[in-house]
C-alpha cells in the first residue's frame, strides 16, 4: 500500500491560489525529494500533508496517509496522527525548539502525547531517540537546554523528536539549509540511516538539486505551485524534459565564462592580521577575556584577480571583511591597498576606502527601505571629496544601473519594488558607482535561487572583464567559489589553513579540513553535470 498519496491537491490561502493540482506519492522506505525555487509551494505541500496550514487555507483534492483521508479527518484525529504516523523536521533549527524546556522534556513530550505511559518510561525512550539521532547521553544529557547546543545538534534534537515514535512518514522541509556543509552532510547521512533502519518514508524538501540528487529515490520538481516534472531520481536527472527542470539543472552547476588574467602586482596586502573581540568578564570583578576571531591572517590579492575565501560559519570571514574595509581597527597586523594602509592613526583612511566596495549577502536587508534606489546607489559618493551633483549625479546613477542590466528609470523606485536578484544587481551597482579597484562579495549570491544566482555570477564575471575589477569572493558554498575564482583561501577558526589555485585546491586538497569540506559538499553526479553544461 502506498504510504502517502497526494492527488490533485489544490490550495488557496485567503483567495490566493498557492498550489494547483499537485500529485505525488511516497512509499514506505522511499525517499522522495521535492525541489523548486523559493515560493514554489514546497513547504505548503508539506503543511498540507500535516494539515498545519495558515489560517484561511482551503484545500481540495485528496491526501491519503496510510489509509487516512487527511482532508476529511477531525482535528482530534489529526492530532493523533501527527507525531505518531507522520512527523516533520523544519528548516530553522535555531528557533524550532522551545527555549524554556530541556531537550529531554521536548522529546519525551512526543511520546507522552500519544501514549499512556509513565514519565520515567518516556524519558527513557527519549534518551534512546536522542542516541539514535547521534546525541549520546553521556555528552548530551536530557537536561540540556536548546541554547546549550549548536545548530546541527539542535537539528538532531528535532529529528529525535520526530522519530521518537517511529512514524511511518517523515517530512523534512529543507532540514539542512541553515547548516554548514559538513554538518549538512552528517544530518543527511543520519536521515538516510533512519529511513533504512525504520523503513519509513521520507519526503525531503530542498532547493538544492545536488542534495536531492544524492539522497532521493524519486524526485518531484515544483514551480509556482505546480509539479512540472517527476520521476525516479536516476532517470529523471538524466532525462529531464521540462524546460524549467533543465534550466534548474543548468543553473545549479553554472560556471560563468571569464577571460582576462590577473596581473602580478599585488593590490591588497594583508599581513599577520589579528582581530580580538572582548568577551564578557568572568565573575563580578574578573578581567574581560578576549575571543580571537581572526588569527594571524596573511595573503595578497593581485590586481584583476578573483580570490575566493571559504570556511564554515563563524570562522571569521565577515570579521576579516570588516577589517579590510577599515570598519574596525585590528589588534595587530597591517592591511594595505597599493601600499597605503586602510587604517591610519586609529582612523579609517578615506583615500583607501574609496577604492573598495562591498556587496552583502542579504538582498533584502542591505538597503534602507525608506530611500529611493537613486539615493541608495549613490551613497558611496559620500567617500568622494567632490561628489558629482545634479545632472552629473543622475548620469552616474543611470550609468551604474545600466551597467548591471537595469534601467535608468529604476532610480525613482523604492527597493521593495524589486525582486531578490534585481536587488543584488542594485547592490552591485552601488559598489560600482565610485569605480573601486576592489569589490568584496560577502556571500553575495548565497541567498539567491539557483537560476538567479547564475545570472548574478555571469554579471559579476562580465563586469570584472569590462572594468578590470578585483574581487574578494567570500562564500561557504564551495561550488560557487569553485566556479568563479582564480585562487582560493580556506579558513578555519580564524586561520588560513590552505591557499592556492582554485582548480589545484579542489582537485588535490592538502589540509584535512579542506578535504573534509570538499568531501561534504553535495555534488551532482559527474554525468549529470556534464549534461547540465550541454544545455
Amino acid at each position: 500500500m502506498t504510504l502517502l498519496r497526494i492527488d490533485g491537491l489544490s490550495l488557496d490561502i485567503r483567495g490566493t491560489p498557492i498550489l494547483r493540482d499537485v500529485s505525488l506519492s511516497v512509499e514506505a522506505g522511499q525517499i522522495v525529494g521535492v525541489i523548486g525555487e523559493s515560493g514554489s509551494g514546497k513547504s505548503m505541500t508539506a503543511f498540507s500533508v500535516m494539515q498545519l496550514l495558515p489560517e484561511g487555507s482551503v484545500c481540495s483534492g485528496r491526501i491519503s496517509l496510510s489509509g487516512h483521508e487527511m482532508l476529511a479527518l477531525s482535528e482530534d484525529h489529526l492530532c493523533r496522527l501527527r507525531g505518531n504516523d507522520v512527523s516533520m523536521v523544519f528548516q530553522e533549527p535555531m528557533t524550532a525548539l522551545n527555549p524554556l524546556k530541556t531537550i529531554g522534556e521536548q522529546v519525551a513530550e512526543t511520546i507522552l502525547i500519544h501514549e499512556r505511559t509513565s514519565a520515567e518510561d518516556a524519558r527513557h525512550r527519549a534518551a534512546e531517540a536522542l542516541t539514535r539521532a547521534e546525541l549520546p547521553q553521556d555528552r548530551f544529557p536530557l537536561s540540556r537546554y536548546p541554547h546549550e547546543l549548536s545548530g546541527g545538534q539542535r537539528q538532531r534534537v528535532v529529528i529525535a523528536m520526530a522519530i521518537a515514535l517511529r512514524p511511518k512518514l517523515l517530512i523534512a522541509d529543507e532540514p539542512t539549509t541553515a547548516l554548514d556543509v559538513t554538518t549538512q552532510a552528517e544530518i543527511l547521512t543520519l536521515l538516510k540511516r533512519l529511513v533504512q533502519e525504520d523503513g519509513m518514508g521520507l519526503l525531503m524538501i530542498s532547493h538544492d538539486l545536488a542534495v536531492v540528487a544524492d539522497m532521493a529515490d524519486h524526485i518531484v520538481i515544483m514551480r509556482r505551485g505546480e509539479v512540472v516534472e517527476q520521476g525516479p531520481a536516476q532517470s529523471l536527472l538524466r532525462g529531464m524534459r521540462h524546460p524549467y527542470s533543465l534550466a534548474l539543472l543548468a543553473a545549479s552547476d553554472h560556471v560563468p565564462d571569464r577571460e582576462g588574467a590577473p596581473q602580478d602586482t599585488p593590490l591588497l596586502q594583508v599581513r599577520d592580521v589579528i582581530r580580538d573581540y572582548p568577551t564578557p568578564r568572568k565573575g563580578l570583578w574578573g578581567t574581560p577575556g578576549t575571543f580571537r576571531a581572526v588569527d594571524g591572517v596573511s595573503f595578497d590579492i593581485r590586481r584583476g584577480e578573483n580570490l575566493g575565501l571559504v570556511g564554515e560559519s563563524g570562522c571569521g570571514k565577515s570579521t576579516l571583511t570588516r577589517a579590510i574595509l577599515g570598519l574596525e581597527e585590528v589588534q595587530s597586523g597591517t592591511i594595505a591597498l597599493d601600499g597605503a594602509p586602510v587604517f591610519a592613526g586609529h582612523k579609517p583612511n578615506r583615500a583607501v576606502r574609496r577604492r573598495m566596495q562591498v556587496v552583502f549577502q542579504d538582498p533584502y536587508g542591505s538597503f534602507n527601505p525608506r530611500h529611493k534606489v537613486g539615493r541608495l546607489v549613490c551613497e558611496p559618493f559620500h567617500l568622494l571629496d567632490n561628489p558629482p551633483a545634479g545632472a552629473d549625479r543622475d548620469r552616474a546613477i543611470a550609468k551604474a544601473l545600466e551597467s548591471v542590466g537595469l534601467s535608468a528609470d529604476d532610480a525613482g523606485k523604492y527597493i521593495h519594488e524589486f525582486s531578490g536578484g534585481q536587488r543584488q544587481r542594485i547592490a552591485i551597482a552601488r559598489a560600482l558607482i565610485i569605480k573601486p579597484d576592489l569589490i568584496i562579495l560577502d556571500e553575495a549570491v548565497s541567498a539567491l535561487d539557483v537560476s538567479v544566482r547564475a545570472q548574478v555570477l555571469d554579471l559579476l564575471a562580465d563586469l570584472s572583464d569590462r572594468f578590470g575589477l578585483t574581487y574578494l569572493f567570500i562564500s561557504h558554498d564551495l561550488s560557487v567559489v569553485r566556479s568563479i575564482t582564480d585562487r582560493v583561501l580556506v579558513m578555519q577558526a580564524g586561520k588560513i589553513v590552505e591557499q592556492g589555485e582554485t582548480a589545484q585546491v579542489f582537485a588535490d586538497p592538502q589540509h584535512p579540513y579542506t578535504q573534509q569540506l570538499i568531501a561534504a559538499a553535495p555534488q551532482l553526479p559527474q554525468d549529470v553535470r556534464k549534461l547540465a553544461h550541454e544545455h
Binding site: 500535516m50 498545519l52 489560517e55 482535528e75 482530534d76 492530532c79 493523533r80 496522527l81 501527527r82 507525531g83 505518531n84 512527523s87 516533520m88 523544519f90 530553522e92 528557533t95 524550532a96 525548539l97 522551545n98 527555549p99 524554556l100 524546556k101 513530550e109 512526543t110 502525547i113 500519544h114 537546554y145 541554547h147 546549550e148 528535532v158 523528536m161 520526530a162 568572568k282 565573575g283 563580578l284
Partner: protein
Amino acid sequence: MLRFIGKRLVSLVVTLWVASLVIFLSLEVVPGDPAAFMLGLNAQEDTLAALRDELGLNKGAVERYVDWVGGMLVGDFGTSYTYRTPVAQMVLDRVQVSLPLALYALTLSTLIAFPAGIWAAARRGKPADIAVMGVTQLGVAIPNFWFAMLMVLVFAINLRWFNAGGFAGWDAGFFAAMKSLTLPAIALALPQASILARVMRSSLLDTLNEDFVRTARAKGLTRGQALWRHALRNAMIPVLTIIGLQFAFLMAGAIIIENVFFLPGLGRLVFQAISARDLIVVESVVMLLVFAVVLVNFLVDLAYAAVDPRLRGRR
C-alpha cells in the same frame, strides 16, 4: 547565575544611591517652611526659630544628607516635622494599607487579565477576541478616579453593599479589612487588568507564531496544548515586566484612589506631607518607593532567570 545576581545587585545599589541624591537635592529647593506651616498665622519669629532649631532645619545640607542616608541605612527614617513621630512607624502603618491594596489590585488584575488575554489570543479574530479587545480598550481609556466615583455612587451610596471608603483596619478582621479595600482595588485593577490582558494577548500571539509552536503542533499537540505547554511560558516575559511595573505603580500611584476612598495609605501620606512641607517624610517615602520599584525590578529579573534558562548562564 551568581554573576547575574551580583551584577543586578550592584546596579541596584548604584541606582538607589543616585536616587537618594536626586531626591535630596530636589527637595532642597522646595519653597515653604515647615515651621511656618505648623505654627500658623499668628506665630512669632522667635517661636519659629525655636521650632526650626528643634527640627534640625538649621543644619547644613551636607550634614542633613549624611544624617538622613545614614539613618535610613540602620532603619531610622527620622522624625516627621509635623507629626513628630518616627517616620518609620508612620510608614509601617501606611504600608499595612498600601501593600495589601496593591497586592489585592494586582491579584484582581492578573486574575482578570490572564484568562481574558489567553482567551482572546486563542480565539484570535473571533467575536470573543473582539469583545475582549473592545472592553480592554475602554478599560484603558477610563480615568480610574472617575470610575471610582461612579462605583461609590452605585455600590456604596445607592446599593450600600460596601462602605463608601475608609479602612476598617486589620483588627476588624481579615474579611472586614479586605471588604473595605474591595472597591479601591477594583478601581485600581480595571485599567491595569486591561493593559495586562492586551499585553498577554499580543505576547501570546507573537509566541504562537514562533517556529517551536509549529514544531509542537507537528508532534501532535492540539492548538490548546501547544498554547498552554509551549507558548504561555514564553509569552510570560513581557507580561512579567508589566506586572512588575504595575506593582510599582500601584504602591505609589494609588494617591488619587486613596483620596477618593479616604484610605490611610502611603500615597496620601506623601500627598499630605508635600502639602505640609514635611520634607523628611516626603524624602523617606519617595526613597522607600524607589527602593520598592528597584527591588521589584530586581525580583522580576530573577523571575526572568527562573523562567528563561538562557539567562541563567552556563552551569
